[in-house]
Amino acid sequence: MATDDISGSQNAAPKPTTQPLPLRPASTFDIVQTYNTLLTSDPEISMPVAAIEALIALLGATPATTAMETVSVIKTHASLLLSAVPNPIPLKAGTDLFQQYLLRSLKGQTSRGAAPALGFDETREHLLANSRLFADRAKAAREQIAQRGAKYVRDGSVVLAAGGSRTVKTLLLRAADAHAARWGCARFKVVYVMDGSRDCVPAVAALREKGVAVAEIAEAAMAYSLAAARVDMAFVGTEVVVQNGGLLSRMGTFQLATLCKGLGVPFYVAAETHKIVRVFPLSQADLPRCGVKQEVLDFKTGEDVEEQRPEKNPLSVAGEVVKDPLSLEGEKGRGAAAPVDYTPPELVSSIITEQGVKMPAAVYDLLLDIYT
């Protein structure tokens, strides 16, 4: 893991606070650049956390001294960051959480119970001093989810895992550990959907390393495999969990969820609570309103095809794009994003979070808790 770079880049960012130049405009700080550096330097970091880290770096770099000024600087940079990526929703989860936290501390609403409220400056200091801790906590959350979810994988069960979710991978590895501790070997099988994301291959390798029997299947074989392998449950990760408990995740999640519903297979989602975002998509067609820019459906007649060059659709999911290894990292880089779809909450059995296993309906309570 190239974690050295990230600490370097982060230490560099807050430095200006020590000798604040009052005339230096805050706009010299490139939030998008910072975000991308953070994301590429640590393969384990998720998008919301990277967005939070970028904002913390901004907090260190900004010469703003008053509370309201700081908040407004954060706000403008957050929207700048969101507008710079094709799918801003995962980032929005992070930036919204961060801004809300800052605002809460401003209002002194952190003083519930016997604890006195930290002032704005103290909050700021706390955030600057602990930016690394937050990333570690996010990783710890993944581990906690894995521990919880591992209990679901029982003796003799067949589990379908989809997508290059690191959380699901950890979950299955923990389940293998638990089985090994109890019976001496992993007594479950995994059907792994190879959807082309770069985390698939290492995940399968890691599972096989632990002695888990893994079948790799293509996305087109999902329905067949669910029935033929008698899959007991499906685990997926997600980019974000939306307000109603639905998912906004890599293209194909909706498809798998629909298949699972149809075939009566429980569909479990492993997601950290910081992936919950205050966005409410009404349907697939509503995604552009939520800020997702993608051109999955590109209707063309014969004439259009002759006019255009074939490589002129970087956002499409057409075959040639999937073959291109770079596009698979699009989820993380800025350029082309991996397309996403919306999975309605009715298709989700439960969401496994580090704070317990939740029904989709409980997601709203968590949001309500911090936004009221």
Binding site: S105, A115, L133, R137, R154, T273, S349, Q355, V357, A362
Partner: protein
């Protein structure tokens, strides 16, 4: 439902009577045997027995501070859970008692330990304590969760990621260990106060157990309307009470469905229930041998009891219920589950080891059919799992709930630290 105990076979009543004079260890041992022999069985009985024995643990076992008490309760609770792993209620009651102790201890410390200044962590991110605190965590109680002085409460908030105080003990064992427990100085003085408070709390739980059925019955007249056809599958005492209460106000028809007739075994007639309902002017129809599907078009509601309600809304109940629920679902008839809050488990249906219990099948095949007994395996489900999508409403002693609301009830009744209880 339970066959009459012949002679001097011990029952819940004799056990409860015997509690007083006996030392703690021997009564626990006795309860373990009773549970193993199924002389105490069923959710209500197990819950009552557990609550009573935990009361003895609090009263009689040796403890000086809260952590010790928690460990005592956990250990004895785990013994009982192992004795009857299918009775999920036992761990529920243990969790309730553990939560109770934690609550009382927090109250005590808030009252007495103000010199700390930083006592309980609010769920709002809690910026009170300096950030170096989480790292210096010695953790002398690595397995059993103790009660932390500084973090008396694991918050459930999305702010946990950013909060100054570590929301839960980070990675580790997966069990949310609350961390280092610093012994409190005013231990002995508060121990007696705590003891009596916790005992009062357990008494309240026992009261709740005994009143749950009546409280559930209180919602009967709202749910059952005049002219309804109510189908009840093998009505449990809870369901019977509910129906009898409804009969006092409402004029409806009850269809009692019972499982397939068993050879040799006396047919369950539900005579007392029928008599009571008849007295109130409610007609009962007994449907035999699984022909309830034929009546389903007429039925307006299906009522069933449960021995446990799981976090995702699935219920564990008598064998044969799932097919009734399925039939009702196919005919779009609402299925109502009656269950006390104490039967609501924080586990999901996928986490419960083996909800389907296979039992005595001699009612279906007798040994007179020698070749048949040799040649085939006859299985009879005693309890089974009804999936959540077949159930429309849950009526607890708190009132009617939808499936989505179960999460809230769980959060109100159990502490996050205790949810993983039997695994610790």
């Amino acid at each position: 439902m339970a066959p009459v105990q012949a002679g001097y076979a011990p029952t819940l009543e004799t056990f409860l009577k015997s509690l007083k004079g006996q030392p703690l260890e021997s009564s626990i041992e006795r309860l373990v045997y009773l549970l193993k022999r199924r002389q105490i069985k069923g959710a209500e009985q197990c819950a009552t027995a557990t609550a009573r024995i935990l009361l003895q643990v609090v009263a009689k076992s040796r403890w000086n501070d809260v952590d010790q008490l928690l460990v005592n309760v956990q250990q004895h609770g785990a013994t009982l859970t192992r004795a009857a792993p299918r009775e999920l209620v036992i761990s529920n009651i243990v969790r309730r008692v553990l939560g109770l102790i934690r609550d009382e201890a927090i109250e005590d410390r808030n009252a007495a330990g103000d010199e700390y200044g930083v006592d309980s962590v609010s769920d709002m991110g809690a910026l009170a304590t300096p950030p170096e605190q989480p790292t210096s965590r010695p953790g002398p109680t690595p397995i059993k969760p103790g009660l932390a002085t500084h973090q008396s409460f694991i918050s459930k908030s999305m702010f946990n990621l950013l909060s100054a105080v570590h929301p839960a003990d980070s990675t580790g064992t997966g069990t949310p260990v609350t961390g280092a427990s610093t012994p409190v100085m005013q231990a002995t003085s508060s121990a007696t106060a705590l003891r009596s408070e916790v005992i009062d709390g357990i008494e309240e739980i026992v009261d709740e157990l005994s009143q749950a059925d009546d409280q559930i019955a209180g919602f009967a007249e709202v749910q059952i309307h005049p002219g309804d056809y109510i189908l009840a599958y093998q009505p449990s005492p809870t369901v019977e009470k509910f129906l009898v209460r409804a009969a006092s106000k409402r004029h409806f028809t009850l269809l009692i469905a019972s499982g397939p007739p068993q050879r040799g075994a006396p047919e369950a007639t539900y005579a007392p229930l029928k008599k009571k309902l008849n007295a109130a002017g409610v007609k009962t129809i007994h449907i035999m041998a699984g022909s309830f599907a034929a009546y389903m078009p007429r039925v307006s509601k299906v009522v069933m009891g449960a021995s446990a309600v799981l976090a995702n809304g699935a219920i564990v109940t008598d064998g044969g219920s799932a097919v009734v629920a399925r039939a009702a679902h196919e005919f779009s008839k609402p299925v109502i589950v009656l269950s006390g809050v104490y039967k609501l488990c924080p586990e999901n249906s996928s986490e419960v080891e083996d909800p389907v219990e296979l039992g005595d099948s001699s009612g279906y095949v007798s040994f007179a059919d020698g070749p048949l007994v040799n040649g085939v395996e006859v299985e009879n489900t005693v309890s089974e799992l009804v999936p959540p999508e077949l159930i429309d409403m849950y009526i607890t002693n708190l009132g009617p709930h939808t499936r989505d609301h179960l999460d809230d009830i769980l959060a109100d009744h159990y502490k996050v630290e205790d949810i993983d209880f039997p695994l610790q």
